[in-house]
Symmetry: C2
Subunit: 167 residues, 2 copies
């Protein structure tokens, strides 16, 4: 795979939206309304974060991620990222590549740690991947994720200190 990760432009949302919409509508992994509209999604994915990236192969979007400050003030040294891989591109290491890229970027931006606030515990592939990439489960929110098939399942808080850390 020859993946190119670059900063997203507003025009990239044409390719991002079908991926975002599919993942949000499934309701299995992200805390977005399942019926989210395109404008709201644009605001949440492209405008509210500090920066958004796309991962492409030969000009085709395979994934996208954002980075933002997780909490202002006394928590501002910790960032939060969200990653989406195109359903057509699963199993190719796109999420791994984006996560590695995000950790490097986070350090360049001056963050000391990264936190995922709300990982559905049923999303075992993602949990394993984040653990492999150095994240620890630091919290378990009981029945905090309303899964369309499994009902109320636990959500996990995952965390990694980045500064002076090497994979």
């Amino acid at each position: 795979m020859n993946l190119n990760i670059r900063t997203a432009t507003p025009a990239d949302f044409d390719a991002i939206w079908p991926v975002f919409h599919t993942i949000a509508a499934a309701g299995e992994t992200y805390a977005y309304p399942r019926d989210i509209d395109r404008d709201t999604a644009y605001r949440l994915w492209m405008e509210r974060p500090r920066q958004t990236w796309v991962a492409e192969e030969n000009g085709t979007l395979l994934g996208t991620y954002y980075l933002k400050t997780n909490q202002p003030g006394p928590g501002a040294h910790i960032c939060n990222c969200g990653y989406m891989t195109s359903p057509d591109a699963r199993g190719k290491g796109v999420a791994t590549a984006m996560c590695r890229h995000s950790k490097k970027t986070a350090l360049e931006f001056g963050y000391k740690a990264m936190q995922f606030n709300f990982v559905a515990s049923t999303n075992k592939g993602a949990v394993r991947l984040w653990q492999k990439l150095g994240f620890e489960i630091v919290g378990r929110l009981p029945r905090a994720f309303n899964h369309p098939a499994h009902g109320y399942v636990d959500a996990l808080v995952m965390f990694q200190w980045l500064e002076n850390t090497h994979e």
Copy 2:
């Protein structure tokens, strides 16, 4: 104490702001920028939440709190609250009264649980109070809170399932 808790109006922010500003500037308990300006504070405390309340005694503001949905979509059954007690009114049970009020309101609004995302572990009085009021520590974020006196200290995630629960 004859505390009256009622929905805040925009005019109440004249009395809320000195309390908010003092607490934010101290930087010891809330994840707000220490140099936050009044307009930003108004947006965060009065506009972004689903609703905001004031706690008064004889027309004097002793405390204020907000309630909002903590995560949209699959997490929308959980709310988040933030409470501020006037420094002049500490030790009178204002936070306890506001928290009890918020738990009742949360159920009326249809929420099933309440979560505090970022409680400074050094804020032992608050941690003890939330535990007394039924919250459990469900997560510990290592060195996630940059305390002005103690440096990087852990932040706690606290959680309470409300539905079918009685104090």
